[in-house]
């Protein structure tokens, strides 16, 4: 029971991280029609900048700020130099060009920081555990991530549904040409949206850093899971991204938590662990297949 509660919270925590990634990716897709594989690289850059700055200054807050600004600035530079030229191209060109960007970013990071993972744990004031219910301790840092993620989700909701910028974003997603014709500076809007997406990816990276090893290739792992989230949620839909992220976060964490133990009942321990790890890596993809059989356009199709 305690284990279940703990795993549910872990699932929630992974879910909000996935949402931070998926929200940016799906916004950029919905508004600019761009599929950006390098979104995972921005996550990695956020994580590296944050871990490096934390290790240098000893301050978690400065690290977080470094991660956020590095991802946002590099993201907007990427948009201005390369991605802007791809909006009118077909998806294949976008995939290939951003694939090239990934190779470049991964190798550049490996050259600067080396292949050894960076380790910067959570700050002292966020380490340790609290008892969420009597007898169930849970790491404070993970709770902080969950709270931050939920706050950002709420903030994003307000931004998109209540503000003028949000109105432009929504209008841009459904009637791109018309918004341009009405005199909105589309180029600026695009850069802003891309910057926002990059900022969210950087936030996800900077927050996840202390939980995992910060290393080259971390971006693609989460990117592919984010794709699963977006396909499940429905392309271009923020609501879908939230639902998909929670679903994927839970399914992934719970299968990882319980499948190996369940298999151990029928198989020798080492076999069961390996097979359980493999099957739980596959679980989210099977989930995606089931959702697609039922709803080919995802749970919340944006342009139904």
């Amino acid at each position: 029971m305690t284990l279940l509660l703990e795993q549910l919270l872990n699932g929630l925590q992974f879910g909000v991280m996935l949402f931070l990634m998926a929200a940016g990716l799906t916004l950029v897709f919905g508004i600019m029609g761009l599929i950006n594989l390098a979104h995972g690289s921005l996550y990695m850059i956020g994580a590296y900048a944050a871990a490096w700055a934390t290790l240098q200054t000893g301050s978690f807050v400065l690290g977080l700020l470094a991660g956020l600004s590095a991802a946002a600035v590099l993201g907007m530079a990427l948009e201005a130099v390369i991605l802007r030229r791809l909006y009118a191209r077909d998806h294949l060109d976008q995939v290939l060009a951003t694939f090239g960007v990934i190779l470049f970013c991964n190798e550049a990071v490996a050259m600067i920081f080396g292949r050894q993972p960076l380790m910067a744990g959570p700050p002292p004031w966020l380490s340790g555990a609290v008892e969420i219910v009597p007898g169930v301790p849970y790491p404070v840092y993970r709770l902080a991530i969950i709270a931050t993620g939920l706050l950002v989700a709420a903030g994003l909701y307000v931004l998109i549904s209540r503000t003028r910028i949000g109105m432009l974003v929504r209008a841009g997603a459904t009637h791109r040409e018309l918004v341009g014709a009405l005199g909105v500076r589309i180029g600026l809007l695009y850069t802003a949206v891309f910057g926002l997406g990059a900022l969210l990816a950087g936030l996800a990276g900077a927050l996840t850093g202390p939980l995992l090893a910060v290393q080259v290739g971390m971006g693609e792992r989460i990117l592919i899971t984010t794709f699963v989230v977006i396909v499940i949620g429905g392309l271009g839909s923020i609501r879908g991204a939230l639902a998909g992220a929670m679903l994927v976060g839970m399914v992934d964490t719970l299968t990882r938590g319980f499948l190996p133990a369940t298999l151990r009942a029928v198989l020798p321990a080492s076999e069961a662990d390996a097979l359980g790890a493999g099957l739980s890596s596959m679980a989210v993809f099977i989930l995606m297949a089931i959702v697609l059989l039922w709803r080919p356009r995802g749970l919340f199709p944006a342009h139904a």
Binding site: L92, G100, V101, E107, I224, F227, V231, A274, S281, L292
Partner: protein
């Protein structure tokens, strides 16, 4: 499809060069060039099979490495179990005539299931979902510790082909080259057939194909399965070439590189995929010799190719 005189000349010259590669390698004292040539042929088969999907049918699959890897592991796993099997199976499990067709059939059968799922989506979702399914197979093979997991599976010796010594790299190069020629001829035949014309039509305007009374789904699925089967053959050759299969073969970067080969060669041009594959294999070898961080050069090259060279190598040969 008609090749221009210049293209025919380049094609004949390239195959003549390939056929003479072992002598050239011997003359310049670089026997490793033969292996490089075999690798180029194998990747060319895989890229040509992907071009059938991407270029002809307009289905940009980002998971083609899965079929390559499944073909390789089919050969590897059968050889791994050969000793445990009783006669005559223990002999058959290492015979090329028995296991290579299986390396085609296993990916093709799985592609029939996964293709049916993926083809429920289109456009960007299709790219994402093919990527995700390929990554699923990647994780599966990483988890299969019996077959080496992360470290990969070593093939004790190459599949037996009557009349060819298993350690003869030159002979194996000619096997790869023959396979490449046969695959390209098959794909050219497919392109010229009624089936190929329907695939062209689907790429150009799917709705119009439906309006004239054709259901696109079975054709798209058939193309998906055929393409996976040919990639499986490339996988069987790959595992034999290096006597090694690893999950890296199924990694998403491999899928990405295959797409790059197709686009670099010229999308939908059939012969182009061969030049794209050869260019990538040579580029890899050259850059890797030059610096450990070769990807930092390859990345910008890709971006430049996408942004600037729209028709690829084969299109540039066509002139105009």
């Amino acid at each position: 499809m008609r090749e221009s005189p210049r293209q025919i000349f380049v094609l004949v010259a390239s195959f003549a060069l390939l056929a003479a590669l072992p002598w050239i390698a011997g003359a310049v004292g670089r026997p490793d060039l033969v292996t490089l040539g075999s690798q180029a042929c194998v990747m060319a088969i895989a890229a040509a099979s992907l071009d059938l999907l991407m270029g002809r049918t307009g289905l940009p699959s980002f998971g083609h490495a899965a079929w390559l890897g499944l073909g390789a592991y089919t050969v590897g796993i059968l050889a791994f179990h050969a000793r445990d099997l009783g006669p005559p199976w223990d002999q058959w499990a290492v015979q090329a005539w028995a296991v290579w067709p299986l390396a085609v059939l296993v990916p093709a059968a799985l592609a029939a299931v996964i293709g049916a799922l993926c083809l429920r989506t289109s456009g960007i979702s299709f790219i994402m979902i093919t990527l995700a399914f390929a990554q699923m197979f990647f994780f599966l093979f990483v988890a299969l510790k019996t077959y080496g997991g992360d470290d990969g599976l070593t093939l004790r010796r190459r599949s037996t082909i009557p009349g060819i010594a298993p350690r003869d790299d030159v002979a194996f190069f000619y096997v790869c080259l023959t396979a490449l020629v046969l695959v390209l001829l098959l794909l050219r035949r497919v392109a010229a057939s009624r089936f190929g014309t329907v695939l062209d039509g689907i790429r150009q305007n799917e709705r119009r194909m439906m309006a004239i009374g054709l259901s696109p789904f079975p054709y798209k699925l058939a193309a998906f399965v055929l393409s996976a089967g040919i990639a499986g053959l490339a996988g069987a050759l790959h595992v034999n070439l290096f006597r090694f299969a690893s999950p890296d073969l199924l990694h998403w970067t491999m899928s990405g590189e295959l797409m790059v080969m197709v686009v670099l060669g010229g999308l939908g041009s059939l012969w182009g995929a061969m030049f794209g594959a050869a260019a990538m294999v040579v580029l890899h070898a050259v850059l890797a010799q030059w610096t450990e961080h070769w990807q930092i050069v390859l990345g910008p090259i890709l971006v430049a190719v996408v942004l600037l060279a729209r028709r690829g190598l084969w299109g540039a040969l066509g002139g105009k």
